[in-house]
Symmetry: C3
Subunit: 472 residues, 3 copies
């Protein structure tokens, strides 16, 4: 019998033995802190119904765009990975076959964070003693499948085992939050909150805008035919999200960071155009920009923290989107400008000490050049963690190296896992803690910060800052 395959306890810590010892000490001081997950895309129905996850492929492969995009890039058809077609056409429905196909291509993930996230899920959470390969695919499949049938692998049990103190999901304004309400009245103690993501009713180019805008009027009883009615409807849904979903934040996924602060009459005229389908692309961009400022104005009133996630060009490959729908790995970053784009918003609300705007980027060239300088000045501004393509060991390291010297640690807000892959949550937070402690350990070893300070910062980055920034 071979030795079980185990993750190394010092993974991701610095290689120099002296620095590693410091990092290990810092990491051990934060390793077991609760997980606060203020932004992500898990499905609240998991926690409302507490049904078991169905099978290994449905849990690990089919919904994970990190995995299927990499395999697709190397010639594996998405159908073979079980990604459902819009038209209901054939895709592989045998989870074991999907799993085998994945196992055969697992080497493609070498050097990516998915390799580590999956390794953590398999070996730490599932307790699998073999490394995944073609040879072990079936035996691992069987072990996972058996575990998923156990009660202690149901969503709520895992939530508790993962020591999640609070988990935020993301819903759009039309959502009735039935799952959040069900969780609340279920008697289960897990804290699952919603976040308010209004792109479908604030972005005229959103594929659901034309359909969802009237619906927003209907469910709020407001006249969305007028600018004032539209704003009132949004305010109403924000209140609803706060009351029924424990919401503490909004989220805005715009193609750019463009903002506007138009006079209200001009904004109303712009709304009249875009809400009736008469606006052009320029109107859409200006309207999205105006809505960021309107959302900030509402946040000053109702206290919701604002998250701005700009710069992703989404669903860019028609051959994939047309068959499999949105968000199938064909999204990518683009060059993003912040200092001029945010000026209207920051002129209006940047100096407000009661407002928190958390800014994300997919354009790392802006960390040191734009984002850290802005956040190192405006009281309202905070810097979101390394996002999406950059939520990885090298990406998180570059984030700290490029943000800290101008933005400091205290204008950052801890970690976001931003995931729909529930079983990756512990690994992602653990990765973040390891990388942050490694960065701090280097500062200590280079005598740029003292050990007692590093310990305080480590706890702030792992736990305190996210709670205060997101008002949790």
């Amino acid at each position: 019998m071979t030795t079980p395959y185990r993750l190394h306890e010092d993974r991701l810590l610095p290689t120099d033995p002296g620095v590693r010892a410091i990092a290990r000490e810092l990491y051990h001081s934060v390793r077991d802190l609760p997980i606060v997950s203020p932004h992500g895309h898990t499905d609240p129905s998991w926690f409302a119904t507490n049904e078991p996850f169905s099978d290994p492929a449905s849990l690990f492969i089919i919904p994970d765009h990190y995995i299927f995009r990499m395999l697709y890039s190397q010639g594996v058809p998405l159908e073979e990975l079980g990604v459902p077609r819009i038209d209901g056409g054939w895709t592989q429905s045998d989870p074991r076959k999907i799993w085998r196909r994945f196992a055969k291509n697992f080497h493609l993930l070498r050097g990516t964070p998915s390799w580590m996230w999956l390794g953590h899920a398999l070996h730490e959470i599932m307790g699998i003693p073999q490394k995944l390969s073609v040879a072990t695919a079936d035996v691992i499949y069987d072990q996972i499948d058996a575990k998923l049938k156990q009660d202690d692998f149901r969503p709520r049990a895992l939530f508790e085992r993962f020591r999640i103190e609070v988990l935020a999901t993301t819903e759009d304004p039309l959502d009735d939050l039935r799952h959040h309400r069900a969780i609340k009245t279920s008697g289960w103690g897990g804290r699952v909150l919603t976040a308010f993501r209004p792109d479908n009713v604030t972005d005229p180019e959103h594929p659901r805008f034309a359909r969802d805008l009237p619906e927003l009027g209907r469910i709020t009883g407001e006249d969305v035919g007028t600018w004032d009615g539209y704003l009132a409807a949004l305010r109403a849904r924000r209140r609803y999200f706060i009351e029924h979903g424990g919401c503490t934040s909004t989220d805005h996924g715009h193609p750019t960071a463009h903002t506007e602060n138009l006079p209200q009459e001009e904004a109303a005229a712009l709304y009249a155009r875009v809400s009736t389908g008469q606006g052009d692309a320029h109107d859409a961009e200006r309207f999205r920009g105006q809505m960021l400022t309107e959302m900030a104005r509402m946040s000053v009133d109702d206290g919701l923290v604002m998250q701005i996630h700009p710069g992703a060009l989404r669903s860019q490959n028609p051959a994939v989107t047309g068959i499999f729908g949105e968000a199938k790995g064909d999204d990518w970053p683009s060059r993003t400008e912040y200092v001029k784009s945010l000026k209207p918003l920051l002129n209006a609300f940047g100096n407000n000490r009661d407002l928190t705007i958390i800014l994300f980027t997919l354009d790392e060239s802006t960390y040191a050049r734009e984002i850290a300088p802005l956040a190192g000045h405006y009281p309202a501004l905070r810097i979101g963690p390394a996002w999406w393509f950059h939520d990885s060991p090298e990406g998180m390291r570059r984030f700290r190296e490029q943000v800290t010297e101008t933005g400091g640690f205290y204008n950052t807000v801890g970690f976001n896992d931003d995931t729909r892959a529930f079983l990756s949550i512990p690994s992602r937070h653990d990765m973040s803690r390891r990388v942050d402690c490694s960065f701090l350990a280097r500062l200590v070893a280079e005598h740029r910060i003292d050990m007692d300070e590093a310990q305080a910062v480590a706890a702030d980055l792992a736990y305190n800052l996210v709670r205060s920034a997101y008002r949790l």
Copy 2:
């Protein structure tokens, strides 16, 4: 009694013991070389009058935008930090209270270069044995206050203690250089030079342009109503700066790196517009660009080294600028383009072996992509050190990593402290020497350069290159 708090002698050196030993040897070989500070913003009156610095807050907090911007970003009002209001309205005038407020928030600077610069000033220069905290704020305040009353903490004594061989300040063309003249005739041996920064009379969008242009005519007796008279006036003031201020360099702080090389008639027509307030933003940009080429032309004649500092958007927060004035931490970098922008200037003068143009950037993405390739070709071009937001351990390390392989060491020009914080000068130069020696040590340890070469380069980066590049 507790052990006095001391800076570690190996701070900022690499963590690997073998590489650290190499770095230490290199650093020790340059540690005590004189400081040559060719570009900065200290106040020449300090050295002309040699009056003692008044109090700890006035010395360390009130004028240091690195410090007050970070505290402002976390909610501390600038009034509480004693930053003076334009309207003379209330700001905190008790330096001890300002100092306490700072001490309470000192943790916000963890991981920033200011934490290290201030630590150096307190512990190395002031000899303070306690670490700054709320608990020690008063006792440290008292110690600093007492030191500042001693003769050996007056400006000239510190200048000598810091082993400053030459220090350049920055003045605009209307300055009468009275302080520089006073230093020259004072009998004191310290070498304090001026640098010629004409933005207020070359940038039509400069807030003082309209007011200062006629004054330029008045003090030179030239007719600034004409292009030729205007150029003659600038030539006259350059001569004045050379003769009365020991000036060896000019400095140009433009929003972009745009240059023009217009036919003189066209330049004259452009001047006619912008000098009479009839130009638009496009004219202003072109005029600034033309003036860089005109300045290069004058430099070929009078030998002044040109510094171009493009890409800073200054005083961008009206809520702060309106109350506290310019340069209150609301400046930020922007994306900056060099290869196309500089082409007119470089076509005209880039191949001139007698001209030196030192190029800076706040856009690190241009180090390897644009600046090193340009400077690795044009005889006139040199690369200025990591600037402003990037004048930090990580920033300086990225500079060497991204510039050296294409630009080499010998197209760089040593270090600029660029500071108005006099007591940070030794720390800043020391930081630069430590970071450069650390970079060189890695090259030695990786056998990419030999130790004798690294020693020569270390001395060149710390001392020789700056003297030759700035013609000091």
Copy 3:
């Protein structure tokens, strides 16, 4: 007698002893693998005629723009380095004097890859026991000169000594491939292929476009006065290159990554304009973009791998180009956009599993932001290695750090030396292997990948991926 100067066997490996041991093991496992050089600019006549190289200056200095650009940037006239003038005017013709001038300035290359490439050529290939300096210039010159007269330093002998399995040169469509045909029929076993680089007949702004387009018609017998005839002519030359030059790839050096996929009638109209000199700059850009899509379409048919090298602004210094001609060190990178630019091409062919498009960049800010995300999705797309200014230890390290986490290892294609300096080929490939193994060693030491995986990846990066990607 002094100890001979030797390169250190651990050069470029990580400094931490534990990580270095891992890196050394990985490196030793790939060090002696054959060299596969799928893209470069060596002269096929060297291998066709097998004449000895004439002298040290002609071999190492005169053709090496990395070297003469650095010396030029520090004031050495190109004439003094023997770079030939277009007008046949005087340049230094005594190779020994050129060599001495170089030796005197060798320190300018400290910290650059050229310092290492040259060191490798001198000490490993030529066996020179002295380090280059003014003092040793002559003795080294004499040793090299003597070696070059030996049969085992002729091109074919070096090719074999270097263990080159295959070497691709680059020719334009008008080339008759006489040297490749001569090699083929010579009985010598070395595999020297051509690559198809059609910029001179696909880029209306290419200096030879107007002259070469009719010639393309003449040699193919096609009517290049029509769009269809023009395309047929290109197809014919591709076939010729495949049949007579063993060609497996095309190469496209465009100023941007712009692509178009116009309806054929529109493309024909555009061709009618640009082929008759009536197009403007916008037409030229669109035509180049259209031709990338046309080339992809042809590749689907004939199987040639496409390389796109965008973003170099070439021959930018008129004072140099006017006297010495093109490619004299006055080329530089520019900011380059990929996600929007490539969309027409990728919409048309990005999902094609039988097509390979290898994408290069000189804009490192796109590695993690654009190129890795694109290549991590599209089956047709692969990521070319760090290119030109970035083909250096730091550049290659940044490439892996920024590309791997999203793009993986398997969307990269091994190493390109891209050189016209034949004697630098072993050093360049060795450098790449050392840097890649160092990166892998860190991943192993940080427990981000297992040692057996790293060994497999090391061999893939050094040998397997390049062969499969380039279909060699």
